[in-house]
Amino acid sequence: MAIKLTVNNTAYAVDVPAEMPLLWVIRDVIGLTGTKYGCGVAQCGACTVHIDGAAVRSCITSVGDVAGAVTTIEGLSANGDHPIQAAWTKHNVPQCGYCQSGQMMNAAAFIKEKPHPTDADIDAAMDGNICRCGTYGRIRAAIKDAAENI
């Protein structure tokens, strides 16, 4: 029994078990590899995607439970020019880059809800997204920059 879902405005019907995490449907079935596998237990944020604009951890979200439209880093903007992507580029945020899809997806959902965040707001909102390279300083600067330009 195929499961229907919409990812980046494209409709898919995937023949997978309903309990399969959305992350693996996106990566291995649909083939969009921008969303990353980090911990598999919602502790690192690398797998963050949007469902109807809200940031969710796709590694613990069963595909059968997805009720809204999914957006991944590949679909955050048409031309890679979302204010968060522009700010990330301007601040040369990534080092290895592996966590950054999740960081950007989390940040994009956050600044939509809180257009004028303080440092404390940013720290609280981004607390669940780990960066082993330690790019937190640049992430915070980029979010503030993006928030001013949104």
Partner: protein
Amino acid sequence: MNAIINCSRRSALKAIGAAGGLVLGTRLIPGTFKFASAAGETTLTPSVFVAIAKDGTVTLFAHRSEMGQGIRTGLTMLLADELEADWARVKVEQADGDEKYGDQYTDGSRSIVKNFQRLREFGATARLLLEQAAAKQLGVDVSEVKAQNHKVVHAASGKSLDYGELVETAAALPVPDVKTVKLKDPKDFRYIGKEVPIVDLPNMMVGTAKYTIDIRLPGMKYASVERCPVVLGKFASYDASETLKVPGVEKVVEIPPPTKPVMFKPLGGIAVVATNSWAAMEGRSKLKVQWDLGENASYDTTAARKEMEATASKPGDRFRSSGEIGLALLLGGWSGHIALACVSSALRQITVLTTFAAEEDERVLRPLDVILVTLLRSALAYIGDGGAPAEYRAGKARRRPGRERQGMCRRGFKPGRYH
């Protein structure tokens, strides 16, 4: 010495869109770090390092692995700087693993050390070829033109030609001897030593940067391996019946445990092969395994520490001896403690440096330097482990980085339970 060769006519290069462009490669004798320089060794496959297409796009083949350390960007900086390339028009292709690239190890913080001169020479050679091509096209002497930011400029006439307009002419020119190529004065560096956007940034921004986990091959399967919790242990028996019921799981593969010394050998276990990652992981979680923990079943941190303490109190093995040990003994002899520190440290230093010198043939070892460094370090060590990096002394780093470790391993370090 680099033997830079022109391989613009090779049809295989069409794949990278460089057909009709300028392509420079080198010939390497597999298994050594020596470059072939004799003419006539035409049977060797050239390794392509830089290609300039008709639209001017410069492609560098990165023969080192990126792990967030920035090597793809670093190598590109070396090449682009000497080439006088516009950063926005340089792209990087990841070289596959192939002997033709010579040493592809990405470790020991030596990718830049090993490639600094080599890639600068590549870039400078390509720049000179483009200047020669421009001079030919403009009918002027090569001394009158200068490469500047992806163009070759003839100042006297104000004319300039983009690199893309020059590649066909350049490809037909003989490659100049690298000894005649003039490298930039470091004060003229435009990328080396400066901050540049990392080459993979645009791809990272939209999720198209490729990591190992993102590689997809035709017919590729996904596997997850259940391993014995103890090194050198193996499974006594296992039941995969529930595993094989998981949708997507195709088979279970037994991987034998490694033989000693373990070193970098695969650790063994039971691999669950599936059509997707999640099925492999789910299947693995449903394996029922009885492990035979083997000879290390009771070996733990306490046992390891005791073993290391016992080993440390034994005389060391001498792997190699060279240099002026006598001087170290003589100078250090005024204090029993320092003398002992000197001997052990001298042995370590000399071994490390000679080992390193053997690898890096351009590096000349001067025994007196070694002794002086040794004495200084020994004195510092005697005062309070002052020779170690601050983070090591503060207990924040688990080991001393870099060559210390390399030296230790090379100095006849006895393979232990985990090695």
